[in-house]
């Protein structure tokens, strides 16, 4: 659509310079945390890594409209940047990966990549893919039943889009126009199986038509396009107009996980070409072209991020290990014979504590 507006794109979207610099910084921080955890994995400190590198632009941008303390998120295992944009700190993420005893996500009970936390309204995630999408729909249903102004967002990969629960979730959300945003981060591979062997028709967003909701495809390297789609989806949800499915075409810059080697199933030239679509330099170029980001500014930002990650990993590593004494606790919320402790219930619309 041609625009006569001569303002930079971010201004057209209602974002100030500070907002886009904040988004860029959030992407840098998530990438730095991710890279640091790979180093810690190589050093034997973290057992396993499942990475979000290449997804940061889409994640930061789609999470940006979400209201902390009000809205809810049901993310997936690559959602480091989403979780951090929605309130988790670098230290929270690294602590979860180190499985420390006072880790906010699970107290050392869950493997790396399974973060979340009641203080952030981020549902602690599990490993069977796609289950979280129904939880977001359930939260949206709860908000709709109660008349609360709450939006739930959930994210998942294109491989997960083939689970039956995704159909169940989108159909139900479509039937009742529930305030939920489905973000499919399509990186073209479900571990080793490419899109054309996973998704009939080649587009997850196209399925939205069948559920009576908008389906939007955005370039995951185009941060502002992702933001624009998410902002519109968030506004629609708040207006009671129902769900939106956003398919962000992103790149997976790393192997599926630290236990995978994508050279076994991807051509080296293909992997090399992915760097061209890395959202971090793409967004930096746009901000530079608009005079928002300067070399000095970027240098300062990167130094701050590095210091923040250093400090976060130092503090995370110093946290206490969990002990088996505690492993029998918090099985049930209600004390019953054989273990469990009482936890106050979540107030409606609030966090879990």
């Amino acid at each position: 659509m041609a625009s006569t507006d001569t303002r930079p794109r971010h201004a057209e979207l209602g974002l100030g310079d500070a907002d886009v610099l904040g988004m860029y910084r959030a992407m840098l921080l998530a990438r730095a945390v991710d890279e640091r955890m790979w180093l810690m994995q190589r050093a034997g400190k973290i057992a396993f890594i499942i990475s979000g590198q290449g997804h940061e632009g889409a994640q930061v941008a789609t999470s940006w409209p979400m209201r902390k303390g009000t809205d809810w998120m049901a993310p997936y295992y690559r959602s480091i940047a989403s979780a951090m944009t929605f309130g988790m700190s670098a230290e929270d993420i690294i602590t979860a990966h180190l499985a420390k005893g006072d880790d906010v996500s699970s107290g050392g009970r869950q493997m790396p990549g399974h973060y979340g936390g009641a203080p952030y309204n981020i549902i602690s995630l599990s490993s069977p893919v796609g289950t979280q999408v129904l939880h977001a729909v359930g939260i949206a249903m709860g908000a709709w039943v109660r008349g609360d102004d709450v939006v739930a967002m959930t994210s998942f990969g294109e491989g997960t889009a083939n689970q039956g629960e995704i159909h169940e979730a989108m159909n139900f959300a479509g039937v009742h126009n529930l305030p939920v945003i489905f973000v499919c981060e399509n990186n073209g591979y479900a571990i080793s199986v490419p899109l054309e062997r996973q998704v009939a028709g080649g587009s997850v967003a196209a399925r939205a038509a069948g559920y009576g909701m908008p389906g939007v495809v955005v370039d995951g390297g185009d941060v502002l396009a992702c933001y624009g789609a998410a902002k519109e989806a968030h506004d629609r949800a708040k207006r009671g107009e129902g769900p939106t499915l956003i398919e962000a075409r992103v790149v997976r810059l790393t192997s599926h996980s630290s236990d995978d080697d994508q050279r076994r199933y991807r051509d080296p030239s293909e992997v090399e070409a992915l760097k061209e679509r890395d959202p971090i330099p793409m967004f930096a170029n746009e901000l530079r072209a608009n005079g928002i980001l300067t070399d000095d500014g970027e240098e300062t930002m990167r130094a701050e991020v590095k210091a923040e990650v250093n400090e976060a990993s130092k503090r995370a590593e110093a946290r206490p290990e969990p002990t088996p004494d505690d492993a029998h606790e918090r099985v049930y919320a209600d004390p019953i014979p054989g273990g469990g402790t009482a936890v106050p219930l979540a107030p409606v619309g609030g966090g879990g504590q």
């Binding site: 009970r109 939260i139 919320a333 209600d334 936890v343």
Partner: protein, 328 residues
Amino acid sequence: MAELNILEAIRAAMDEEMERDERVMILGEDVGRKGGVFGATEGLWAKYGDKRVLDTPLSEGMIAGAAMGAAVYGLRPVAEIQFADFVYPGFNQIVSEISRIHYRSNGTFSAPMVIRMPYGGGVHGALYHSQSNEAYFTHTVGLKIVAPGTPADAKGLLKSSIRDPDPVMFFEHKKTYRLFRAEVPDGDTVVPIGKAVVAREGKDLSIFCYGFMRTCALEAAETLAGEDGVEAEVVDLRTLRPLDLETILASVEKTGKALVVHEANRFGGFGAEIAAEISEKAFEHLDGPVTRLAGPEVPGVPFHHALEDWFMIGPPRIVDAARKLAAY
């Protein structure tokens, strides 16, 4: 006191809890305008509206998963699975998510919700409307499993389940829905989860049962008393998890003989757990082999009445098994 059948008692429990706590909502297939295929939610849609009594698509994964999301958010969903036989699309949500969210979040999230399921045979429902699948769920840590056998227990236990901070699977034997009426205490009376009840005192052997088997066991006990002079103690477990071992072991210590009865097939069934606990913890009190009477090892209840009768456990088979054990 009102005389209610089990279906009316269940409906009364939901009605009272919805009135008492605006966080309580019902969701499931046909639960709204129709009032449920068995009528359990009749009248509630008209009273509470179509959001709090919500008709869902045919989508058991959605029913379970969305109920969990709503529970984590702060509501108290009561989900109806139309038949226990149809719960399996929701199995992943129940076993991977609902049962584990509290533990895996180190206690910071909870899923206070109820899944009600009509189960059991004897109603010409064949393989896919008759299953007693409680053992799939009793094995799962994090769930509480309730299976009442009387109107008063159905009402009191459902009220407790709705108020419970943990996820509860509530098994309703569909043959008992309109089987008989009995007195149900008026007002806000709850029955605690995790407590068995001695339904009939006896000194010669103990019969452990739940759901419809309570009715069958009590009838069998009368026959045994009248024809054999054998006084059977009938223990209705009411809750399968957490299990009231104290009451079970006290009964075995008294009678020295244990007969465990359930409708589900025997192999790996819930009776195996009770038998093992008794063998481990009351061995020195036993005066006969811990015995299980359970459904046959076939994949489901066959349809034709002659075949269904062959499958079902009724009072005569309980009498036979009890006679053998009493004579041991």
